[in-house]
């Protein structure tokens, strides 16, 4: 078992296919509306209509697949009034179904929207990094299924040593907030600060219905 398992995403080759989402849904049998993994489409650019009927533009788009980042400093754990949200020795954050009262504080404080409210169960559920698989040395479902091999996992320190720790791409929040176990290879069009305008292109897919 890894000391501090972390996800790695090469956004240069993530095509937003969403296989990771369905692999996760299938493995954990998740109902509609419960999204342990989400794929954010970030897009921007402006169009100029030129007098001769042609156009110039500087459009860009990239995708970021996000689940729970099993942060070193998990705000969800801090915010949980019933102590249901907790972190194990490897940094994996999970919900104790016996203790969770479904107050959704964790959902509100998490900058990644990782904890998901299951209406039928009346409580929170979330990514557990496929802990059982990790213990057996096999990859989590989302990683094992990634068609382009953009999504990987590994020991956090090793991933940082290998890929560096770039400042987070918009719309990812500053890492200092929670110290996520998530290493990103930056997309060539990545927006690092508010240098160019851009928006989340698929709000209906990533936000609560």
């Amino acid at each position: 078992m890894l000391k501090r398992p972390a996800f790695y995403l090469d956004t240069q080759i993530c095509t937003g296919c969403k296989t990771c989402i369905i692999a996760c849904k299938d493995k954990h049998d998740l109902p509609a509306g419960v999204r342990w993994r989400r794929v954010v489409e970030f897009t921007g650019g402006d169009w100029d209509c030129l007098p001769d009927g042609t156009f110039s533009q500087n459009v860009f788009a990239y995708y970021i697949s996000v689940s729970c980042n099993h942060c070193q400093d998990p705000v969800c754990v801090k915010a949980c009034p019933s102590k249901a949200m907790h972190q194990d020795d490897h940094g994996i954050v999970t919900v104790d179904p016996e203790k969770c009262v479904g107050c959704r504080y964790c959902e509100w404080v998490c900058p990644y929207s990782a904890p998901q409210f299951d209406k039928k169960l009346g409580r929170m559920t979330k990514c557990d990094f496929c802990r059982e698989d990790l213990q057996q040395g096999t990859p989590p479902a989302c990683v094992a299924g990634c068609p382009t091999r953009a999504l990987q996992f590994g020991e956090y320190d090793q991933l940082v040593a290998e890929h560096g720790s770039d400042p987070p791409m918009i719309p990812m929040p500053p890492t200092a907030l929670t110290e996520p176990s998530f290493v990103l290879e930056t997309h060539r069009d990545a927006q690092l600060e508010h240098t160019r305008k851009g928006t989340i292109g698929n709000p209906e897919e990533v936000k609560d219905a």
Partner: protein, 765 residues
């Protein structure tokens, strides 16, 4: 303990739809139900043959197989055709009715009245294939043939007249040898997105070589987001104009490969023109303005047509002309248009002019070439009927068969169609309603029960097409029958997957083989059809036929099942299409009449004189640009100022899987719209909009995004048509907006050529 971690068995299965990938999946079965699906996990993923990782569609199969829309019992129509009212009948009643009607129609109208409609909803299984219907009908004296496909009609004909060959492309892996890649409407990240196929090979090639990739497409596709160094938006249907502008720069700046054009091509300039053609008809004359239209095809000429600034066209031409080799390719979007044949041919001119055909790192202009092992399908026998219609022309063959001729409709085997289609076999096909053009008109034709007299639908789901069945039969899904499946065109791997029956058929579902065998029995040809084998015995028999191709496969069928999957890496270097021809065009001529690349096609020259075309359509011997009925024309169609294309969407493959709620949540149906067009109409992201033209109207949510060019909408094709009051579609099904007018040469479906208007939907109070 997570209960879904315990299971009774794991079996190999497949995703059998028409994306061209054919992915293996492993089904985890517990108490007779599939409880989990995983991808291929065999071999070393770091080297070939790597894992074939199914995309979201294959991974979501469980929610599709167990859908509430699953057909479970044979049904007979009780209301008017298309109303969707059915009553449950027994299998014997259903099969008796089919046999009686088939016999009556064969007797009354002859074999040309029976048609197995185009459809690809269940593709890739050997024994579960639609071929079973063809085999049955051939034994019964034949059926009306079809040619072309809804995917490739126009490009197929373009390649036929230009190169005389199919699949002329280099493998996508050959990009490692390229200095530049130009993708015209080629979008593997959404069309061939399996992690064993083209998109995987594209990732590897891009990572290895860093080759500069330019994507030319009206839409900033996921291929553009993932791989493009530059995106050049282009107005739909104008690729031939761009090619003309590029060619002008290549020619006037001396960037053409004159030696190659002299030795390998027909009709580039006067020196290689056929002798019986009047002067001034060469390609060079057309481009430079020395031809009949006296119009030089300068970048300034192409700019307002394509929407691409002239300076950018000039720069792109210089890039193409100086990067040797350049991999210039096209997907199947540019050709699925009103004059798609000419777009496809015109794009091919760029590698031809720059001498990039038949060399490593180059390409012919065709889509990336496949690699595969030629495993056999079931023997279908000869069709005694030789008459063949373009697959898109079937509605005309029902409605006005006497008006469908060789010269006006691409009919083959006869000058004029004499027999209307009276009996339709519709297996795993949504072409009957959903995927054919102009749904409202198609419905009208089919509603007339005196025209087509019998429609048999065999499917898994209650689709829009199934609602038009007279007899509706529930078919087993891929989970419920064993079969063999092998690689398709979207991969550079050979595979053989030993698909095993994982669960019992749902309800009363039966295999297609069993259904056809039962009809055969009632028609007195049981022995000819089955050859004494049942479904599983056919699978085993076909396995041994596959062994003849790959003798290293286990001798014993059960041993092969135990292994489950076999994979073969493409040997050696990536395939280079037309390499032999390039190396020696004299000893390895092409299959064109001249043996050369026919830039000027004498066959098209002759067809232009003889074929009957509606006003506005043209056939030209050269790959020329001509505006079509689908061009924006404020004077002619002020009501419909937007072009609407229908891209292939990750949520489904064509219309298969559209009813999977997991996929709908991950990738909802929305129309792509530029913020400039949205603002003019007061439309915001997420609003429900109404898209309409003379053919119909549909309602769908808007995705307001800069990733589509102004003046263009893209409504992902394949959404299930759902009719609400007044013939309005409520599910963003594009074919209520598309036209049945075929393309000039192929008589193919122009389903990306549409003029529409859009407005915010106001719910009436």
């Amino acid at each position: 303990m997570n209960t879904i971690r315990t299971y009774d068995k794991v079996v190999w299965s497949t995703c059998n739809v028409n994306c061209g990938s054919r992915c293996p999946v492993r089904l985890f079965v517990k108490a007779g139900r599939v409880v989990r699906i995983e991808s291929d996990n065999t071999g070393d993923d770091a080297s070939r043959p790597h894992e074939i990782r199914a995309c979201l569609r294959g991974r979501g199969l469980r929610r599709w197989v167990y859908s509430k829309d699953r057909l479970q019992h044979p049904l007979k129509r009780i209301g008017k055709r298309g109303e969707g009212r059915f009553e449950r009948i027994s299998w014997d009643q259903a099969l008796d009715t089919i046999a009686t009607e088939l016999e009556r129609i064969l007797k009354q109208y002859g074999n040309e009245a029976v048609f197995r409609i185009y459809g690809t909803g269940n593709l890739g299984g050997v024994v579960s294939s639609r071929d079973q219907v063809d085999r049955l009908m051939h034994i019964l004296g034949g059926r009306l043939n079809l040619h072309n496909s809804y995917s490739t009609a126009q490009i197929y004909h373009a390649m036929h007249y230009t190169y005389g060959e199919k699949e002329t492309g280099n493998n996508i892996s050959d990009l490692v040898n390229s200095k530049l890649a130009v993708f015209f409407g080629n979008n593997p990240a959404e069309t061939r997105m399996c992690g064993g196929g083209t998109v995987r090979d594209l990732v590897v090639a891009k990572q290895q070589s860093g080759v500069r990739i330019i994507v030319i497409d009206p839409r900033h596709t996921d291929t553009a987001a993932g791989f493009a160094d530059e995106w050049i938006p282009i107005r739909p249907g104008t690729d031939a104009a761009l090619a003309g502008g590029l060619a002008h720069v290549l020619i006037t700046e001396g960037l053409v490969d004159q030696g190659f054009l002299d030795s390998h091509c027909l009709g580039y300039d006067q020196a290689t023109m056929p002798l019986d053609i009047p002067p001034g008809n060469s390609y060079k004359a057309y481009i430079l303005g020395d031809g009949p239209d006296r119009t030089p095809k300068t970048p300034e000429w192409a700019a307002p047509i394509t929407g691409i600034p002239a300076r950018r066209i000039t720069r792109l031409a210089r890039e193409i002309g100086t990067a040797r080799p350049a991999y210039i390719t096209q997907g199947w979007g540019p050709q699925r248009h009103a004059a798609g044949e000419q777009s496809a041919r015109a794009i091919c001119m760029l590698p031809i002019l720059s001498g990039n055909v038949g060399v490593p790192g180059g390409n012919s202009g065709d889509r990336e070439g496949p690699f595969g092992i030629p495993f056999p399908g079931i023997p279908v026998g000869d069709n005694p009927v030789k008459t063949s219609i373009p697959c898109f022309m079937w509605t005309k063959a029902i409605e006005k068969p006497g008006n469908l001729t060789a010269l006006n409709g691409g009919l083959r085997g006869r000058e004029r169609l004499t027999t209307p289609i009276k009996f339709i076999w519709n297996f795993a096909s949504n072409t009957l309603i959903n995927q054919h053009s102009d749904i409202n008109r198609t419905k009208e034709i089919l509603r007339d029960e005196k025209k087509c007299e019998m429609i048999v639908v065999i499917d898994n789901m209650m689709t829009a097409s199934a609602r038009f069945a007279d007899i509706l039969l529930p078919a087993t899904s891929s989970f419920e029958e064993s079969d063999l499946c092998y690689q398709s065109y979207g991969m550079e791997l050979g595979t053989l997957i030993m698909r095993q029956k994982a669960i019992e058929p749902l309800g009363e579902s039966r295999t297609l083989f069993d259904i056809c065998a039962q009809v055969a029995k009632r028609m007195g040809v049981a022995e000819n059809f089955t050859e004494g084998r049942n479904h599983d015995q056919w699978v085993e028999y076909m396995y041994h036929q596959c062994r003849k191709v790959k003798p290293e496969l286990p001798e014993n069928y059960r041993d092969a099942v135990e292994t489950g999957i076999f994979k073969w890496a493409r040997p050696g270097e990536p395939r280079v299409g037309l390499k032999e021809f390039r190396n020696n065009p004299v000893s390895n001529p092409l299959n064109t009449p001249s043996g050369k690349i026919e830039i000027f096609s004498p066959r098209l020259w002759d067809m232009a004189q003889t074929w009957e075309l509606p006003k506005g359509d043209v056939i030209t011997a050269l790959p020329e640009y001509h505006p079509t009925w689908g061009n924006l024309d404020p004077e002619r169609s002020p009501m419909y100022p937007l072009q609407c294309i229908g891209h292939h969407y990750k949520q489904r493959t064509h219309s298969t899987y559209d009813n999977n709620p997991w996929l709908e949540e991950a990738a909802p149906q929305m129309v792509w719209m530029n913020p400039l067009d949205a603002r003019q109409r007061g439309i915001h992201h997420g609003d429900t909009v109404r898209i309409f033209n003379t053919f119909g109207q549909t309602m769908v949510r808007a995705k307001v995004t800069p990733r589509i060019m102004p003046g263009v909408l893209s409504l992902p094709q394949g959404a299930w048509h759902r009719e609400v009051a007044g013939g309005v579609d409520a599910n963003g099904s594009i074919n209520v907006l598309t036209s049945q007018r075929p393309s000039p040469i192929a008589k193919g479906n122009p389903q990306h050529t549409n003029l529409v208007q859009v407005e915010k939907y106001q719910e009436k109070s």
